[in-house]
Amino acid sequence: MAAAAPSADYALQHLIDPEVCIRCNTCESTCPIGAITHDSRNYVVDFSTCNGCNACVPPCPTGAIDHWHQVRKAAPYTLDDQLSWDALPAPAALDVEAADDVPEDVRRLTEIATAGQGGAASAPSSAAHPYVNLYSQQKPAIATVAGNHRLTAPDASADIRHIVLDFGNTAFPVLEGQTLGILPPGLDENGRPHYVRLYSVASPRDGERPQHNNVALTIKRVTADHDGKPVQGAGSNYLCDLAVGDEVKVVGPYGASYLMPNHAGSSLMMICTGTGSAPMRAMTERRRRRRALNEGGELLLFFGARVAEELPYFGPLMKLPKDFIDINFAFSRAPGAPKVYVQDRIRARADKVAQMLQDDDCYIYVCGLKGMEAGVLDAFREVCCAHGLDWDALKPQLLAKSRLHIETY
C-alpha cells in the first residue's frame, strides 16, 4: 500500500446517480452558477465549478443529486467520466496515514487520556475503518461554524456548548469515538502558538444531518484548572466564543481504537461525565438512526453531572424511548439530595452490569474527567466480586477482546 502524502487534500465531490435521476432538468435550471450540464444520456456536475451551495438538492424530486463522494482534490471524476456512467461508482477508499505520522503532541495527549486502560486497546473487529491524520498543522482543514448552542441554562455555573462545524466540500471522515484537533489562534503565555486541543466528536459518522458534511462538538468553557485555580482554557474559550460563519482550523481525525462495534446484536455500556458524553451521543445517535433496521443489541448509559441543568443533552435524552436506551443519571450536587456518582449507579445496577461484563458482544466505553476513572474501575471490581467474577482476570480479557475503552482528561 502506497503511503499517502502527509497532508493530502481531500474533498467531497457532488455527483448525480444516473440510475435514479429522471433527467427532469430541475437541478440544471436551479443551479445559480451553471455547474450542472447534460448530454443525451446523463446530467453531470462540474467539480471545478460546484461550490456546494446545495441549491439543487431540495428541488430534486428523486434525491439522485444528493450524493457526495470523497475524492482527492487533484483527481476528481471528470465530466467525461460522469457522462459515461450507468451507475455511480462505489465510493473510493482513501489512503490511510501510517500511525507513526501522528504528531508528537497528539500522541502524548492520547497516552495520558488512555492511561486508565492499563494496556493497549484495539478497535472492535466489527468497527468501521478509521481515517487518521488526514490534516496536519501545516495544512489544516478549514471548517465554518454552522451553530453554537448553549446547552446549559444561562444561570448555570457551567457554560457547555453544542458547536456544529460545517466542512463544506472538504472531506473529513470521522467516526464515533474519534477526536479532532482544534488549533486555537494566537500565542500562549510563552509566546508560542497554542498546542492542539483534542475533542471527541459528538456526531455519528454521517454528521448532525446526513449529507451535510458537518460535525458537532460538546465543549465546556474552562474557567478553572484541576486544582480550582482560575484559568481561561484557550481551546474551550476560543470555541465557546465562536460566531456562526467563523472559520476554524481543524486537524486530524485521530483515534483508531476507541471505536464502536458495527455488528448486529452488539451492545454498548457507556459511562461518562459532563462533556465526556460527546462520544456517547455520537454512538447513541448512530444506533438511533438505524433503529428501524432491528439489528438488536442494548444500550446502557451511566451519565454523571453536578445537576440536571448542567447535564448536556438532558432534554433530548429524556425523549429517547426506554426500550431503546437504559439511562442512569448521577447528580452529585442535586439540591437537597445526597451526592450520587456514576460508580454509585453502576453498583445499583450490579446485576445488569455483571451480565453485560460477561457478554462478549457488549463493549464498554468510559469518557470524562480523570477523577471518575478510579471510582468506575472500583465499581466494576465490586460488581464482579458480588457475582463471583475476578475483575483482575476479566479486565485484561476485556482489553484483549477490544471490549474496554477508556479516555479521560
Binding site: 435514479v20 427532469c24 430541475t26 443525451s40 441549491a55 431540495p58 428541488p59 424530486p61 450507468d86 449529507q211
Partner: protein
C-alpha cells in the same frame, strides 16, 4: 416582491396580495368555493388523514421543501411566482429584445385567456380522475405520493386562477368560477381536453398518466415559461419544479412495477404472460399496451400539427418553444421550415412546412424525445434482470384523434392498416377490457408501513430521507 411566502395571510403569497384589496377580496371569495370543490371532488374519504406533505416556505431553492404532517383540507394553497429576473427581455417573435410585459397585450387577451383556462382546467381534472385511487393504494409511500401530486395540482389551479383574476377582469373571474364547475368525464359539463375526461381506474394508469400526461404539462409550461407576458412566465416557472415531482412519481412507479414483474419472471423462470399474471404481477406485454394508450392519448394534447394559432402566439411573444434560449436560430423563424409527417396515398411522407405553423409539432417532438428517455431507463431495469423484452413508444400516428394523422389507422410499429385489420389486432395494441379487469383485480389497499402490494417493488429510498417504512399517512 419578497421571496418569502407569508403564511400568516389567508392566502399565502409572494405577490404582495395585501396591497391590492380588490384582488385580495375577489380571491378570498373564490377560496371557499375551492375548498368546497376539494371537499366534494378531492381524494375520497381523506379529510381526516394526516399526510406527510411538502410545502414551500419561499420560492428560493432552500425554502422549497418543508415536510410535515397536514390534513389536506388544511393545506395552505397559495400563490407563488419565481423571483423577478432583472432586465428581462422578450426572447422570440416580433418583439424580441424588448422589455417583457407586465400586462396582457390587448389584441391577444382572448387567446391568452383561453390558454390559461385550458391549462388551469387540467389541474382539477386530474384530481377528479384520481380521487378514488387512495382506496387501492399499494403502500403508504405511494398513497403519500398520490396526495402530494393532488395537492400540487390544486396549487397549480390557484396559480392559473390568480392570473385570471389579476389580469383578465370580470371575464377572468367568471372563468375562474367555471373551472370549479366542470367535472371530469361528465356528459353535460366535461373538462376541456380529451385526456382529462378519461378514467384513471388503476395505479398502473396513474403511473402512466403522471409519466406521460404530466410531461405534456411540463412542455406546455416550459413553452409558457418563455412568455413575454412576464407574470405568466414566472408563474409557470415555479410550477415546473412541482411538475418534476409528478413525473418522478410516474417514472419510478412504472419502474417499480417492471422491477417486480421481472423479479417474478426470474423467480419462476417464465416469460409467459399468463404465468406472470398467475403470480399476481403485471406482465410486460400488458405494460406495453398501457404505454401505447397513454402515450398516444397524450401526444394528441399538443394540438393540430398545423396551426395558425401556434404561429400567432409565437410571433406575438406569448408562447415560445421548449428551451427557446438554447436553440440556435433567429428566434423569429419566418424563413424556417420543419418536417411534418402526414399520410399521402396510404403511405407516410414527410413534408416541409413553415416552422411557425408547425410549432405544435415541434413541441410534440420535443416531448417524444424526452419521454423516450424514461422508456430507455425502464428497459435498463428489464435488461439488468436478464429478460430479453424491451418496451418502446408506438409510432407517432398510432391511435390519434387530433390532426392529420388521425385520418388513418396505424399499428404501433408504423404500418398503415385497414379498419378490419385494426379491429382484429387492437387488443394486442391497446389495453383490452380483459387487461383492465386483470389489473383491477390486483388493486387492493395496503397500508401497513413498509408493506407493498405484490405487483410493485418498494422504492430504493424514502421521502425526505425518511425510511421506506415511515408512516407517511396517518389515518384517524
Amino acid at each position: 416582491m419578497e421571496p418569502t411566502i407569508n403564511y400568516s395571510e389567508k392566502i399565502p403569497n409572494n405577490v404582495n396580495l395585501a396591497d391590492d384589496r380588490a384582488l385580495q377580496r375577489a380571491l378570498e371569495r373564490w377560496q371557499p368555493e375551492f375548498r368546497d370543490w376539494w371537499r366534494d371532488m378531492g381524494p375520497d374519504g381523506s379529510a381526516n388523514y394526516d399526510v406527510y406533505l411538502r410545502t414551500a416556505v419561499s420560492v428560493e431553492p432552500q425554502g422549497w421543501a418543508q415536510f410535515d404532517y397536514v390534513r389536506m383540507p388544511d393545506y395552505r394553497w397559495g400563490i407563488f411566482l419565481n423571483p423577478v429576473p432583472a432586465g428581462a427581455t422578450i426572447g422570440f417573435g416580433e418583439h424580441k429584445g424588448q422589455p417583457v410585459w407586465q400586462d396582457v397585450p390587448g389584441e391577444h387577451r382572448a387567446n391568452l385567456r383561453r390558454i390559461i383556462v385550458t391549462q388551469g382546467d387540467t389541474e382539477p381534472a386530474s384530481v377528479e380522475q384520481q380521487r378514488h385511487l387512495g382506496l387501492t393504494c399499494p403502500s403508504l409511500y405511494d398513497l403519500r405520493n398520490l396526495f402530494q401530486v393532488n395537492v400540487e395540482e390544486g396549487r397549480h389551479l390557484w396559480a392559473m386562477v390568480y392570473l385570471l383574476h389579476r389580469y383578465f377582469g370580470r371575464d377572468g373571474r367568471e372563468e375562474a368560477d367555471a373551472l370549479l364547475t366542470r367535472r371530469s368525464g361528465d356528459a353535460d359539463n366535461p373538462r376541456i381536453l380529451g385526456a382529462f375526461n378519461e378514467k384513471t381506474p388503476d395505479w398502473l394508469s396513474l403511473f402512466m398518466f403522471t409519466y406521460f400526461t404530466d410531461r405534456d404539462g411540463k412542455f406546455q409550461l416550459a413553452a409558457l415559461a418563455e412568455s413575454g407576458f412576464e407574470p405568466l412566465a414566472r408563474t409557470t416557472k415555479f410550477m415546473l419544479t412541482e411538475e418534476a415531482h409528478h413525473m418522478f412519481v410516474g417514472e419510478s412507479g412504472v419502474s417499480r412495477v417492471i422491477q417486480r414483474t421481472c423479479d417474478v419472471m426470474k423467480e419462476h423462470r417464465t416469460d409467459d404472460s399468463s404465468q406472470v399474471r398467475a403470480q399476481g404481477a403485471i406482465d410486460l406485454e400488458t405494460i406495453q399496451r398501457y404505454l401505447n394508450f397513454h402515450y398516444s392519448v397524450t401526444i394528441d394534447l399538443f394540438g393540430a400539427d398545423q396551426s395558425s394559432n401556434a404561429a400567432t402566439f409565437y410571433t406575438a411573444g406569448l408562447k415560445g418553444r421548449f428551451d427557446e434560449s438554447k436553440r440556435n436560430d433567429d428566434h423569429v423563424l419566418k424563413g424556417r421550415s420543419y418536417p411534418v409527417q402526414s399520410v399521402i396515398d396510404g403511405a407516410f411522407a414527410e413534408r416541409d412546412v413553415p416552422m411557425l405553423n408547425a410549432l405544435n409539432e415541434v413541441l410534440r417532438d420535443d416531448f417524444i424525445r424526452d419521454s423516450i428517455g424514461g422508456v430507455g431507463r425502464w428497459n435498463k431495469v428489464i435488461e439488468k434482470a436478464g429478460v430479453p423484452f424491451r418496451l418502446s413508444v408506438p409510432h407517432k400516428a398510432f391511435h390519434r384523434k387530433i390532426g392529420t394523422l388521425s385520418q388513418v389507422r396505424v399499428s404501433p410499429d408504423g404500418r398503415v392498416v385497414s379498419d378490419a385489420a385494426w379491429n382484429t389486432s387492437v387488443d394486442q395494441w391497446l389495453p383490452s377490457a380483459g387487461d383492465r379487469a386483470f389489473v383491477a383485480s390486483l388493486m387492493g389497499r395496503v397500508v401497513e408501513p413498509g408493506r407493498f402490494a405484490g405487483w410493485i417493488a418498494p422504492p430504493a429510498v424514502g421521502v425526505n430521507r425518511q425510511p421506506v417504512n415511515f408512516e407517511y399517512v396517518r389515518f384517524n
